[in-house]
Symmetry: C2
Subunit: 220 residues, 2 copies
């Protein structure tokens, strides 16, 4: 499949690309096409050195979205609203993956700060054409681990969305990444509790000295 | 220490009592003293049979609170506001543990439905004297596992509260229960994300056939 990673020049985006490029065609998206192309070239060289023959291109964000079947919103929350609204006309019926987490640092702690829609995923849902399938996932994955191909990432990927087929596509993307287990978390309106895990885990990391905390669901 | 379990005649309350009675003095609280005494007697007999010599008494809720250093609010969310307000005068400077989760079933899913204060823990905080130390914890523990002394409970107990010493007391109560690991989750205002884990896990249980789902924080 063709996967556009909007904000693909950042750490999180590059992590996803490194993991998925062996099985999918990747389009790095950025505000400036040249920057996207540079990142695409450097990731292609990096992957070639580790024996992965990847097809990665770079494009301006709007073109990247138009050319793809799956779009990953790999951008900080503060840019999501303007960026999604600006790019809305480039969307048709893609699957849009939102790992976006609205949060703020208050004193020493992180707090979940959802928009009036209830979650970043529902904000994105509101801004995009109705045929687009929005899936919330990958909120609690360590980007540091994602970038390091030597390392299994581990933990569970909780997935929320209203279209079962799209959720299965996203679950398959999680399965490509070693040791990650996808879990269905229900409809998109339940994404808030998943997004809220990120500030929760950041606080637990700091207070209990657990590095890059992620979660696993266990059977009781 | 003297621990009052308000709502101690229910499944959740009995689970805590079975686990803690070997190390602490327990007071079962109920609306009716006779019912509390009955439960106290039956738990004492049960524990004697498995070789635990426990000191368990039963009292009307208000008396149970007055006689204790720690109070566990082992009651369904819908009763918490009225019950806490009614008992407010029985409190002085206890540690109050809230495992309470406000949630509703909407179609097939559970949704987190916090009160205007932001969480059940903050609602309780608002209703009780300022010297009472409210600690939110034990939201994601399987009550079925808790009741079965043959079984390790497993998973992590996330703890939120504003008084470090009280949080350490609650962490010690978690450590009594085999295989449970206490983790500090920050100040009480962050309890909402912990309470919200319960509907999240109930949905994951049902959708992915994971029995009595709990969580573990992993290092990435």
């Amino acid at each position: 499949m063709k996967i556009a990673v909007v904000g693909g020049t950042g750490d999180c985006g590059q992590g996803f690309i490194k993991r998925w490029a062996k099985e999918h065609e990747i389009i790095v998206g950025s505000r400036r096409a040249e920057k996207a192309e540079e990142t695409a070239e450097s990731l292609t060289s990096f992957l070639r050195e580790v024996g992965v023959d990847a097809r990665i291109r770079g494009m301006e964000n709007g073109e990247a979205v138009e050319a793809s079947e799956i779009v990953v919103l790999s951008v900080p929350y503060k840019f999501v609203e303007s960026m999604t609204a600006d790019l809305a006309e480039s969307y048709s019926d893609q699957i849009v993956i939102s790992p976006v987490v609205p949060m703020a640092r208050v004193e020493k702690h992180f707090e979940y700060t959802p928009p009036v829609q209830g979650s970043a995923a529902l904000l994105v849902r509101e801004l995009l054409p109705s045929k687009v399938k929005v899936v919330a996932a990958f909120h609690t994955i360590s980007y540091a681990a994602l970038q390091d191909l030597e390392k299994p990432v581990g933990g569970d990927v909780l997935i929320a969305g209203d279209d079962p087929e799209s959720k299965e596509v996203v679950a398959d993307l999680a399965r490509i990444i070693e040791d990650l287990r996808p879990l269905d978390g229900g409809p998109l309106k339940l994404a808030a509790q998943m997004e809220g895990l990120t500030p929760l885990l950041l606080n637990i990391s700091r207070l209990n000295r657990v590095k890059n905390a992620g979660i696993t669901v266990i059977e009781g």
